[in-house]
Amino acid sequence: MKRLIFALLVFSMLLAACAPKSDSATADFDLADWDSVLAAADGQTVTWYMWGGSDSINAYVDNFYGVALKERYNVTLNRVPVADAADYINQVLSEKEAGVENGAVDLMWINGENFFTLKQAEMLYADWAQAIPNSAFVDWGNPAINRDFGEPVEDLESPWSSAQFQFIYDSARMDADSLPRSYADLATWACEHPGRFTYIAPGPGAFQGTRFVKGALFEISGDAAQWGTVDEALWDEWSPKVWDYFNKFKTCLWREGETYPKDEYELHSLFANNEVDFSITQAIVGAGALIDEGLVPTTSRAFVFDNYMIGDFNYVAIPSNASNKAAALVLANLILDPEFQAAQVLPENGFGLGFGIDVTRVTDPDQVAVLEDALANLGEAATPAEDMAKSLVGDAASPYQSMVEEGWRENVLIGQ
């Protein structure tokens, strides 16, 4: 009996020792008074959950934001690398279900799919994105910014960077003149080169594939803007033509269209190992960051079609139960600093996605110079800026996301 009591004692001591340390009372701050936010953030650790599959992005985050946070604001960055953004969405949703008030997540890198989920669950810290000082650089009037995958942002998240759909080819294998420049061209090219093209299967977590199919919807219907609002009749009119388009050249695809790569990295690997001739990217530096990471050949270059290349922004959001909101705000603000916006587009820094801010809103001459200098040094693996601008279109309204994914699955993957 004595031994049992002893064992229980040890057990409860272990429990007590391991119980989570309650955060020292979160200092109060007033968002309207930025100094009070900085004071509250002083000494905090901001836990940033983000997809951690890219060494170069991880290094960029640690070396740029991590160092600056510590030096300037005495904030420690704890970057949590996760295999899939859905994992931390689940964490936040589980915390909601369990009623946890001091959540593990302070900041999250999310895109429209996850944003929609968290917004519906009402788990996002509200009314902050336009209150942080550097949001003055953000063009909140731009529908591409105030809507995320078509869903109104409503001050619940703040932009980090921009992305635009592009293709990658290997300049050692192909001549720039022989590249397809439209979806119509692409189908012809694919059947002239059987097995040398494939795309990412559209579906949850594979938005790049969905985006590729949406581009075809835009081109076939001849207009991107009309898809900005949901219109069932329009969808019923054009979607069968889109499935026709994909089914027509399905057998010309890699493995005759029976299977498709599931994400960008599988496609990069097929491309790098000479199984197919095109990959895709969303980065402003084109293939630059991928070359540096050794994922694609050094002769890889990016290009776009003449039109219908969907561009959008990606964001950071704060869960409503975040333990260190002040530090998360400081980090979200730092991300928008022109100095770091310039750093993130340079291929050698490893991030490579585009500006989240509107550079014309920056007035400080030194900062303007830094931004211009960055734009001039995107590297030779980037798509020429004028091609990017000419082909840029906004995304379709958010319900089309799942309509495209389900329609493609039923009519192209399984059907016919």
């Binding site: 989570p20 060494d55 050094t298």
Partner: protein, 257 residues
Amino acid sequence: MKKLLIWIALLAPLLTLGLFALSKGWFYPEPFPAQLTPEAFSRLISDTRTLKAIIDSLLLAVLVSLLSLIIGYPAARAIGTQDFPAKKYVWLAIFLPTVVPPLAIGMGMSILALQTGLSGTPFGIILAHIVPTLPYTVFTLAGVFARYDENYEYQALALGASPTRIFFAITLHLLAPGLAVAGLFAFLISWSQYLLTLLVGGGRVLTLPVLLFSAVSGGNPTTISALSLLFLAPPVLIIAATARFLGENPNSVHERI
């Protein structure tokens, strides 16, 4: 000849991993990497996050194996040496965690851990890991106990040895190979646990498998191979170190006297 084939079958995948880990931008149709560089390893080893993940994973796995042995020992002894009513159902209860999909129990455990404040704590993760490791330790130890002759203990008792002395001098001595195998099982299962660590740890405790899965999602063969080799090293070293025990039939306790 047969031995050589086995060695090739065992080592070939490791060599491929090694080549990938030392390469950068190694693509088909190049038969070998154009250049070998230890860059990936030096990057991982100089990264405090990776080092901490290795140490944390090791500590967790060792603690989980010890606790599994301590908790599993009485159950295994009862099942292996006694006959009692409803023994079948006790077996079933112990084996349930191996039958139910980990995701199903993981989600529940995650909520439970959040409610009890154990989420994100090493202790919570240890408890979570014990769920899948326990069936294996009990199963292995029960097999050992089935052939265990309790008369050695009675003999010692008759000669006046204290229960503590009997445990250390007789029981532990006779069971050592079986305990090593059972502990090794628990270690391996805990060491390779991804889902439960993620669900109960909520990202606050980063183990090597969590880093590995995150790297795999990025598809960089160099990083993935280097991390995989780091992941493989401790189990391989431990198996090599305990090969003396593993070589013997862990069920035969008599031969050791």
